[in-house]
Symmetry: C2
Subunit: 332 residues, 2 copies
């Protein structure tokens, strides 16, 4: 487990999407975040007090979280310098970048010298095995999406907390770097070797007998030509009895692929159910979750009603509306 | 490129499926294979003269190919000892095991000392990028299957050679270790990181303008819960205008999953075409290829006719029957 509390790193980022890991921690684990560190050229904030490295250490931060996605995932000199300063100040350092912290010799040596830890949350487990699809006990819900970055992680955590609020045992099962930092554990499924995608999810969500739920964070989309293999393996490994479709109503084209249209929600639901049935014959869809943060307030309710009518499923924004209609559907 | 000719290693193998890489080389590159090396407890043969390491070297073998799949992919002491003997005799060593030759310190040191090479064909390229699905020039055919190990590689090579025999430019694009050893190049798609499956296939088969074909070796099956993610990414990366379905009529359950039935050919074709359409809107199926090697001779023709009637596609065994009906369909 990565020692909390955290100082959240924004660095020089000027791209809202680029600080999503820091923002996710600020949203879902505010009690574990003492502040944010950003350089003067960073126009963004996650709403926490701005602190220098020294101020963060003095405020009790045990780990600097490099919660940013920089171009290509490679650490620049500025990032290494800031991580070095954190280690010098007595903090551990965590990151989910493609390039590993431990592969930077200066950071590795300094961490060892100071008795501190470097956490590379994108490391897949070493002991993965291939999936089998054999039936296992337990109740599992998987979030799926029309595209990448449409709110699957937010939806998954919100559903987990809503189940817990009803007194139902539920665990958030993280599959991406931000989710893993929030949960404190998980499997970075996009980083496992291709043969082990479904096996990694079977390992993440072993059978359970407490009538509780594993609520599994989906990745990618069956309709995203870059990542559909990951989404397919996730569906097969999850062996979910229920799926929830996530969608961003203002997205104009598939993420990273200008000109490629998003699939329709009905078409996307049907394709996900068809793939899921290979390992979960009775899987059903129980809801649609929208990210309405960029929508005009008075347009939200009519859109939710239209999608509910089109799909026959409850449709809500999980961050601003009650998830009760979806939980009721799950219970039905 | 791995220097030929080869000495093919069978070692202590007693499992027919376990020597498929050595057998594939013996079948498709017989002119490059001087002999086979096997211990006294190995009851198998690929039909080549049996040779000791020294005899293989004297016969001109430049590379010992460890063409076996051992349990777990880890090299035992016997395998390391035999590879050491080959290096001592002046041969390079090639393998497609999960454990890399270069990760065995004694082999690495000896190869360096002797100026010889170790080839780990399961290494994915280092410079992979994510796929885009954007249209590219060229004609591509992908083999798909009802299961793993149903003859996709044999079919792919046979189709390539049949096209070439008609004077049509065609290249076999290998995606597995045996295919890569036969082709001398390729991408081990099951070993790439999950995010890069389709991107690896786009890299393997860049656009071409000579009206020739890339004939791409498929992997796994959309209906295999362990590996369907790989098959999905392959379909999206291939952007194939044609697919050929491969099937083993005597297979009783999905490979490695006793009790799980194979899908029907018609259902499997429909699912593959549906997934393929995401990046190749006009993809079509042009044939079914069977591995009839375990069938009674008089049962083969009736089965091919029945499958042809059921699917509306030509159905042949690519190793014993003419591929003309499939090439004609491709041309139509």
């Amino acid at each position: 487990m990565i020692p909390a509390p955290f100082l959240l790193y924004l660095g020089h980022s000027s791209d809202f999407a680029g600080i999503k890991t820091s923002r996710g921690l600020a949203v879902f684990r505010p009690e574990d975040c003492v502040g944010e560190f950003r350089h003067d050229d960073c126009p963004l904030s996650v709403g926490l007090p701005r602190m220098t490295i020294a101020e963060g250490a003095a405020a009790g931060a045990k780990t600097l979280v490099l919660g940013i996605a920089n171009s290509g995932g490679v650490m620049g000199a500025d990032l290494v310098a800031d991580a070095t300063a954190a280690l010098e100040a007595g903090m551990n350092v965590a990151a989910g970048l493609h390039q590993r912290l431990r592969d930077v010799p200066a950071l590795k040596a300094l961490a060892e010298a100071k008795g501190l830890q470097l956490f590379d949350v994108r490391d897949p487990p070493a002991d993965l095995v291939v999936g089998t699809g054999y039936p296992r006990a337990g109740r599992r819900l998987l979030t799926v999406g029309t595209d990448c970055s449409v709110g699957k992680m937010y939806t998954t955590i919100a559903l987990t907390r809503a189940l817990q609020a009803r007194g139902i045992p539920a665990d958030f099962r993280a599959t991406g770097q931000t989710g893993i930092l929030i949960a404190g554990e998980g499997v970075p499924v996009d980083a496992v070797v291709a043969d082990f995608i479904s096996g990694a999810i079977e390992m993440l969500t072993p059978g359970r007998a407490d009538r509780g739920w594993d609520v599994i964070e989906g990745q990618g989309s069956l309709f995203h030509p870059s990542f559909a293999g990951v989404s397919t393996g996730l569906l097969h490994g999850a062996q979910a009895e229920a799926i929830v479709m996530c969608h961003d109503p203002v997205r104009e084209s598939m993420r990273g692929l200008p000109g490629r249209k998003l699939p329709g929600i009905v078409e996307c639901l049907a394709a996900n159910l068809q793939v899921a049935r290979l390992t979960s014959a009775h899987v059903r869809a129980v809801g649609v979750c929208l990210n309405t943060s960029a929508m005009a307030k008075d347009a939200i309710a009519p859109l939710c009603e239209a999608i509910a009518a089109e799909t026959g499923l409850p449709c809500v924004d999980p961050m601003t509306m009650s998830l009760d209609p979806i939980l009721d559907m799950l219970d039905a």
